[in-house]
């Protein structure tokens, strides 16, 4: 059956190479490098080269992996891999303008769950390491997740309702198609608060500076990652970098989905360019001008200001504006 073989080959290509594992890792590490370079320039430093996160990744692969005596060996080693797999799969559901690898009727819900698995992997790995510092980090990571999940769901509901009209549409392809017909979601005035809320969620999801309470390295020694070394740590660092492209990519396809160049490669290049701009806008700049929050301030910030923004957008959309 040549058709079945072809289907399997294409699926493998999608998962392993183009929107999946390889593309997401390389672009994620590139974005992490841009972030470090730009923040260095903001602080009047020269900064590391843009490929620095790749050096970090390969160096960590070449290091010895120490498994602490108190750790649950299997869970300790499996957690980063589970996170990596779920994050690599998310990218299949996010349309890169004209190109969608996998499309279904409830993509947004799948994305929501898979992003949560990325965070849960950190929690599980941290708890398995058996360090008290990791325990503190894990509890903080859980609070962080609770804080941003609520406004995140509200933003996605607002988008789904806006596209669906009187029903909810969770299909990324339909959202993309709707934007081709009606213009960027960002320029619908009722969606502007939701877009701002989404931009504020991105740094918490990725774990960047003002919201990196869970991995506070000066305070609780990198929290859940404290006992990790070598290859598992490399995969965790890669997961963080992949979250950068996934979150900015999700924003791009939800709110700036009108662009079409007609060529898949040009679409992908434009996609990466927009993601880079978004990274600098909502992660690097915020990182450069703020200090780390306390966990209760983070929780309060997300459940008042950000949830308020997302909710106002949802109400406006529900009223048909």
């Amino acid at each position: 059956m040549p058709e079945t073989a072809q289907y399997i080959l294409w699926t493998a290509f999608y998962i392993l190479i183009f929107p999946g594992a390889l593309f997401t890792s390389v672009v994620g590490l590139f974005l992490a490098g841009v972030d470090r370079k730009v923040i260095a320039h903001m602080q009047r430093r020269i900064g590391p080269p843009i490929r620095q996160p790749m050096y970090d990744f390969f160096k960590l692969l070449g290091k010895e992996t120490i498994i602490p005596h108190a750790a649950n060996k299997f869970v300790f080693l499996a957690a980063p891999v589970i996170g990596f797999v779920s994050l690599a799969i998310i990218m299949l559901f996010i349309p890169i303008f004209g190109f969608t690898a996998v499309s279904g009727s409830a993509d947004l819900i799948v994305i929501l769950y898979l992003i949560t698995i990325g965070g849960v992997a950190l929690i599980v790995g941290g708890s398995a390491s058996g360090s008290p510092y990791a325990g503190i980090g894990v509890s903080r990571e859980m609070v962080t997740m609770m804080s941003y999940e609520l406004p995140f769901v509200l933003v996605l509901l607002a988008v789904a309702r806006k596209v669906g009209g009187s029903t909810l549409v969770f299909s990324m392809e339909q959202i993309s198609q709707w934007q081709v017909e009606n213009g960027h979601m960002l320029f619908q005035w009722s969606m502007i608060p939701a877009a701002i809320a989404f931009l504020l969620i991105i740094p918490a999801e990725v774990g960047m500076q003002p919201f990196d309470v869970a991995e506070a390295e000066t305070e609780i020694c990198e929290g859940p990652l404290i006992e990790y070394s070598g290859a598992p740590l490399a995969v965790f660092k890669l997961n963080t970098a992949m979250k950068m492209i996934i979150m900015t990519g999700l924003f791009t396809s939800l709110f700036l989905g009108q662009f079409r160049t007609g060529y898949y490669w040009a679409d992908a290049l434009l996609f990466v360019a927009i993601c880079t701009v978004l990274t600098i806008l909502c992660m690097t700049t915020v990182h450069a001008v703020t200090a780390r929050l306390k966990i209760e301030h983070l929780f309060k910030f997300y459940w008042t200001i950000v949830t308020g923004l997302a909710l106002s957008s949802l109400i406006l959309v529900w009223l048909g504006l």
Binding site: F57, K59, E64, I66, E222
Partner: protein, 148 residues
């Protein structure tokens, strides 16, 4: 090729872990000065790690007081291979002005092999940068030996 990439990366991204074993804080300030915009050690990939498990280069300052000796040895044992030990200042080399004191159990050489030793009381940030850069090169050699 993969091994070559890993040993090149070992040189390009050394993460530091700083242990103060009873230092007067002078060397610690100079080490921090290396990371500030003026000297910017991050352009070579140096980064301060939060835990010894993430470290490649362990930077030790201070004359190894008897209070800090056990903790120093235990922390050094937690660093994964390949690793380098860099001593900063005259204290870990000789004990400096504290030499002969009942509470000093230096020099550092007694407990661990020191790869690079930066002398001075306190060494200038330029000297520390030079020492750290040499340590990064030693790290590359160690990684190459490990690969074989």
């Amino acid at each position: 090729m993969f091994r070559k990439l890993m040993s090149k990366s070992a040189m390009k991204s050394p993460w530091l872990y700083h242990i103060n074993s009873g230092s007067c804080n002078g060397c610690d300030i100079e080490l921090v000065a290396c990371l500030t915009p003026r000297y910017d050690a991050e352009r070579f990939g140096f980064k301060l790690a939060g835990t010894p498990r993430h470290a490649d280069i362990v930077v030790v300052s201070g004359p190894i007081t008897s209070q800090s000796k056990d903790r120093l040895v235990r922390t050094l044992a937690q660093v994964p291979e390949p690793k380098c030990v860099v001593s900063i200042g005259s204290c870990p080399r000789s004990g400096n002005v504290f030499k002969g004191s009942y509470s000093i159990e230096g020099p550092l050489e007694k407990y661990v092999h020191v790869d690079v030793s930066v002398a001075g009381c306190t060494p200038k940030p330029e000297a520390i940068m030079e020492g750290l850069y040499q340590a990064a090169q030693i790290l590359k050699k160690k990684r190459e030996v490990m690969g074989k």
